[in-house]
Point group: C2
Chain length 236, copies 2
């Protein structure tokens, strides 16, 4: 079976967390919202409006066997169970879900740094507020979140859920670190000194054969006008 | 077995979503962070620092049989499976989780209305920014989120996951509506006219015998300095 992944074209966005899991596990999927994947943004807008039993509030969503599954962490939970991208036991699956939700909180904050007033306004119309929010994000939130993951890895070892192999939460932490390094290079260069385990995990995920092949393919979109944005004035 | 619920004292907060599920289902629990429940805020701070296999990033967290489970939606997913507070089939469980995560997004936005710059600053130090953010929240976000749930109920019937009985997502929507009505009474009074199904669900949940008894008990804390805050200047 081939999954249909629906997400906006042009940016990695939240769809990237799902895409990374599909790519890392070698699972077949189609990009229904992306021109380069054979889909289109128009098709996405139209599909969002079609009536269905379980409508998504927003992309990304995955369609599998006629079922629509929305919310990034929920899609990953499903893929994790179905394709063994998380531990098998309940405690392990809940732990990986918990980590994913903590990353989702960080992602939402990373977005709101450049859009602290409204997603519907341009950055330029909330730039002063963004500068204020960025200070707290750089000095308090990034250290707190990434310090947490550093501590988790101290306890768990090579992977966030322990054991000998990655889970989807490891892929997501990889992408968050990637995004933060793109958006806040100065901050992350300083922070990375006290995040040796997080940075080692980032390198480890990037070197997984499927992930490495994906990152070099044209299926991997560059960062730009999405969640992670590089505005030097927000990087302190 | 008695669950240990750890959350800050003094406010309903995110702990309330867990508390409502425990109360509605008549599940035994102890309030370990709350003086009135036999716990204390000091005990919470101390417990957060104790080493454990699966540390939470932040409260609320639940301790059951020596396992710690963090992140509100994750705790509810666990309780939903263990105590039948969600449909039994996979598609139904994922749907309820998806709805819960959508409510979590709304809750995060409701918080950031009064703290658009930093959670670590006082409201008074970000009041002007809050006024700007509140406009978008009132005019765009509340209608979009609650309109979505109205449409879901049009499709599903009395309860968000269909069927003849409530799931934990229904309890959470109840609490979100309660919180929004407290924080934005003028806005919600206008909005409620086009939200007949959401408002009917709110009444239906509030009338469940266990929920009604809980709401009248001293275990239910009043809104105040938490996620949902009433500042008339933010209500338009």
């Amino acid at each position: 079976m081939t999954y249909d992944l629906w997400y906006w074209d042009g940016i990695p966005g939240r769809g990237e967390f799902v895409r990374l899991a599909l790519e890392a596990a070698g699972i077949d999927y189609r990009e229904r919202g992306r021109a380069s994947g054979g889909g289109s943004a128009d098709a996405l807008v139209e599909d969002m409006q079609s009536p269905r039993k379980h409508p998504p509030f927003a992309p990304p969503y995955l369609v599998a066997d006629g079922e629509t599954i929305g919310q990034t962490a929920n899609i990953l939970f499903f893929l994790g169970e179905k394709h063994q991208l998380a531990p098998k036991d309940l405690a392990g699956r809940l732990w990986v879900n918990q980590l994913q939700l903590t990353l989702a909180d960080l992602v939402a904050e990373a977005h709101d740094v450049h859009h602290p007033i409204a997603a519907s306004l341009y950055y330029e119309d909330q730039q002063e507020e963004a500068k204020r929010r960025a200070k707290s994000f750089r000095e308090e939130r990034i250290p707190k979140f990434l310090g947490y993951f550093e501590n988790v890895l101290k306890e768990q070892g090579r992977w966030l859920a322990g054991g000998e192999t990655w889970s989807y939460a490891d892929l997501s932490l990889f992408h968050v670190v990637d995004g933060l390094a793109y958006a806040f290079p100065v901050t992350m260069s300083k922070q990375s000194r006290r995040l040796s385990k997080v940075m080692a995990l980032h390198a480890r995920v990037g070197a997984l054969p499927n992930v490495s092949a994906y990152l070099q393919s044209d299926r991997r979109l560059a960062f730009g006008e999405g969640i992670f944005r590089h505005y030097p004035e927000l990087d302190g």
